[in-house]
């Protein structure tokens, strides 16, 4: 299997009538990378995948695979293999026939196909199951067969369209590890579509966060989590508390934001927005629940938030405190459980403290829907 074939999207636009599904996407995916498109349903990520696999013609722009423009090349001629959301295993074919379908098309003999099927079945840890029908396998087994079938075509790029969404939670978590392992073993480029940030974060080398046809940010998982470009990226990936306000003062890479409810707070400007925020701009700042600590009562300053506690819950690894926030939305605070004593604050005012590097400011923008 040839490793290291990259995929590039250049100024890609895809329209359906008046509706713009993908707006000017520019993405460079390196060869051998595990790349995820992360976004809520309807954001256009599946459309991008279909354009890469050749089922859809871009309205404008180009798809390049291994540097070669794919315009006018049908899905059956592209070096890609797609794993469908519902897997699309051929129901009337046995497992081994399913896996080696691409060889059948090329005219390989039954013996050759059987041999290859056995190898791949060993690889996906389903030895000897080749004579079953897809309906006779479990969900996770079918999942692995779909991967084997795609790999049998020896693609340069494997495209996966939310392949884990039909599985139950436990199996999903198990398959994440397995997919990552397979990718590292075969070394080809994986393009993965998901709306589950946990999947994207655990498996990917790079993630593109998408919103309504637009790519907000392309980076590795850590960067996306810690240094989001936009309000959407900040609110979509992981849990986050939002504070709205206006920029009061710009100090190098930090800003003082006069928030609507919590007074003036200081925050670090996210890397992509440095130098772009000026006084008077509408801004949003994000602080993760685990970034807060409880400060002694009465402490005040630009990195303290005082709020009334609505309720608390114990989650095992953490205590969660919910305080009154903006517009009926609560601020969530997560205190790790080290076995320390923990008093109930319900109904009381508490003061929360954070470090400036853990508060990220971005220009005001659309938030991810809950």
């Amino acid at each position: 299997m040839s490793a290291g074939v990259g995929v590039d999207l250049e100024n890609l636009w895809i329209r359906f009538g008046d509706f713009v599904a993908v707006r000017d996407a520019n993405v460079n995916i390196n060869g051998g990378e595990f790349f995820s498109f992360l976004g809520p349903s309807g954001c256009g990520k599946t459309t991008i995948l279909r354009a890469v696999s050749g089922f859809l013609d871009p309205s404008e722009g180009n798809v390049l695979i291994g540097g070669k423009n794919m315009k006018g090349i049908g899905p059956n001629k592209r070096p890609t293999a797609l794993i469908f959301q519902n897997l699309a295993l051929f129901p009337l074919m046995k497992i081994w026939e399913n896996i080696t379908f691409s060889m059948e098309i090329k005219g390989a003999s039954a013996a050759q196909r059987r041999k290859r099927a056995d190898e791949l079945l060993d690889m996906i840890a389903l030895p000897g199951q080749g004579d079953k029908l897809p309906s006779e396998l479990s969900g996770g087994q079918r999942q692995r067969v779909a991967i084997a079938r795609a790999l049998c075509a020896e693609p340069d790029v494997l495209l996966l369209d939310e392949p884990l969404s039909a599985l139950d939670l436990k199996l999903r978590q198990h398959m994440r590890t397995e997919l990552r392992e397979i990718q590292q073993r075969v070394g080809i480029t994986f393009i993965y579509i998901t709306h589950d940030q946990g999947e994207a974060l655990t498996m990917s080398d790079s993630i593109a966060v998408m919103r309504a046809g637009v790519i907000d940010q392309i980076a590795d998982g850590k960067t996306i989590y810690n240094d989001p470009n936009t309000a959407f990226a900040a609110s979509f990936v992981g849990e986050n508390n939002v504070f709205r306000g206006k920029v009061k003062k710009v100090m190098d890479n930090e800003v003082l934001i006069s928030t609507n409810r919590s007074g003036d707070l200081v925050a670090r400007v996210s890397t992509a927005n440095q130098g772009k925020m000026s006084e008077g701009d509408a801004a949003m700042m994000f602080i993760r629940p685990e970034a807060f600590t409880i400060a002694p009562t009465g402490a005040a300053g630009d990195h303290f938030v005082t709020a009334r506690v609505n309720h608390e819950e114990f989650e095992g690894n953490a205590f969660n405190i919910f305080t009154e926030g903006e517009g009926g939305k609560e601020i969530k605070v997560s205190i790790p459980n080290h076995g320390q004593s923990f008093e109930d604050h319900t109904g009381q005012n508490i003061t929360l403290e954070y470090e400036t590097r853990n508060a990220v400011a971005v220009p005001a923008g659309e938030l991810a829907a809950e």
Partner: protein, 420 residues
């Protein structure tokens, strides 16, 4: 009390309903074995297989069957292809056109067959003229016109059957095949066609049967190639013989046979699938222990019973000779006829005597039919049926003379001749 009454009335209703539905077919089938020259259940004369022999010697029927088969094959091919194309189009047509398109392709089911026949005839006749072709061209050929005319509406039936299955087809399967390197034609042949195969088979059977039994459309388009149905209609309109019953019996038997066969096959597939589900890996790789063909399969058992019964009947037919019985019946009929003739003569004699007293000659012609019946048209048959309910032996003999005077009687002399 109340529910049991309800249950009984349901069963009574079902019994009446199915008697209405199946009774005519049973009665018609039975008449094929009665030696009476007019298809009837009673009076029962003799068990005979002669009508089957007669059927197979009827050149027009045989020719009709041949034409029906040719036209049926053409119609199946054309209407399944059009129905499949129509169904595929329906699943992916532009939504705004969908309702109009559906109305157009479903309309032929509702358009009277007569109208379809006429429009086909008129349209292709016009095309033929526009192309400057003669009356014997391909476009005015009866087989071509009939296939075209029948396919117009049979394709709609096929489309309905196929679209039902197509709606369960996951288009992602075709895409998956394309993605794995197949061409569109390969994806169609290797993935969609196998999935559609059961529906295509049903559609083909449906199309063939619909073509085989079509009358309304075909009657305008058949030209030089009358189908079996057309021939049957001619025969039935101008006179009915038990040979038609014999044909009906064969068709009923074949239909029952294939219905049972199909049912047995379906049941077996179910059982096999169930067995596979429970099979272990090793069993799947090597041999699966399948249940025997008959286990839990009512239809299969019925099928065997039916086949044995058919073989028995055919066996009997070759061995059985009803000549003696028919001869007896004829003898009795002749006796009866002679009796009647003598009676007639006697009566005529008496009349003549009476008339001679008044005037001669004139009334003779009129008085001839009178003695056997009253003069009303319906009453012609009265003696026969009245006799039928009387004592059995006599009833057989009595029936013949009355038959001579009724509309069915036209055929009796013929059949008597063919017997000899």
């Amino acid at each position: 009390m109340n529910t049991s009454f309800l249950r009984i009335s349901i069963w009574v209703y079902l019994a009446i309903f199915f008697a209405y539905l199946l009774g005519p077919l049973v009665i018609m089938s039975v008449t094929a074995f009665n030696s009476s020259g007019f298809p009837r259940m009673s009076p029962w004369e003799c068990l005979t297989f002669q009508w089957f022999g007669e059927l197979f010697q009827d050149q027009r029927i045989l020719n009709g069957i041949k034409n029906s088969l040719i036209i049926g094959a053409g119609t199946v091919a054309l209407s399944v292809a059009m129905g499949l194309a129509g169904a595929l189009m329906l699943t992916q047509i532009w939504p705004k056109l969908r309702a109009t398109y559906y109305t157009i392709i479903i309309a032929p089911i509702l358009i009277p067959g007569v109208v379809l026949g006429i429009s086909t005839l008129v349209f292709w006749d016009r095309i033929n003229r526009m192309l400057g072709l003669g009356a014997d061209s391909f476009l005015s050929n009866g087989i071509f016109l009939t296939v075209i005319g029948q396919s117009t509406f049979i394709a709609s039936y096929c489309m309905l059957v196929l679209v039902a299955r197509l709606q369960r087809y996951d288009m992602a399967l075709t895409e998956a095949a394309l993605d794995l390197g197949a061409t569109h034609a390969q994806a169609f042949r290797k993935i969609m066609l196998p999935f559609m195969r059961p529906a295509i088979a049903s559609a083909a059977v449906l199309a063939f049967l619909a073509s085989f039994e079509n009358y309304n459309t075909t009657t305008f388009t058949f030209g030089e190639y009358p189908t079996l149905t057309i021939e049957l209609a001619q025969k039935v309109r101008y006179g009915i013989t038990p040979a038609i019953s014999a044909l009906a019996f064969i068709i009923v038997a074949l239909t029952v046979f294939f219905a049972l066969l199909n049912e047995a096959k379906l049941k077996r597939q179910e059982l096999v699938a169930a067995a596979r589900k429970e099979a272990t890996v090793e069993e799947l790789a090597g041999k699966i222990k399948l249940p025997s063909f008959f286990a839990g399969n009512m239809a299969a058992v019925l099928l065997v019973v039916f086949a044995v019964a058919t073989i028995t009947v055919v066996g009997t037919a070759t061995a059985y000779n009803p000549a003696q019985c028919i001869a007896d019946v004829r003898e009795q009929k002749q006796l009866e006829a002679e009796q009647r003739i003598q009676e007639l003569r006697k009566q005529r004699e008496e009349r003549r005597k009476q008339q001679e007293a008044q005037e001669a000659e004139q009334g003779e012609a009129q008085s001839a039919p009178k003695p056997s019946n009253n003069s009303g048209f319906g009453n012609v048959f009265a003696p026969n049926s009245l006799g039928g309910d009387g004592d059995d032996g006599a009833s057989d003999t009595e029936s013949e003379p009355s038959n001579n005077s009724g509309f069915g009687g036209v055929f009796d002399p013929n059949s008597l001749q063919s017997d000899q």
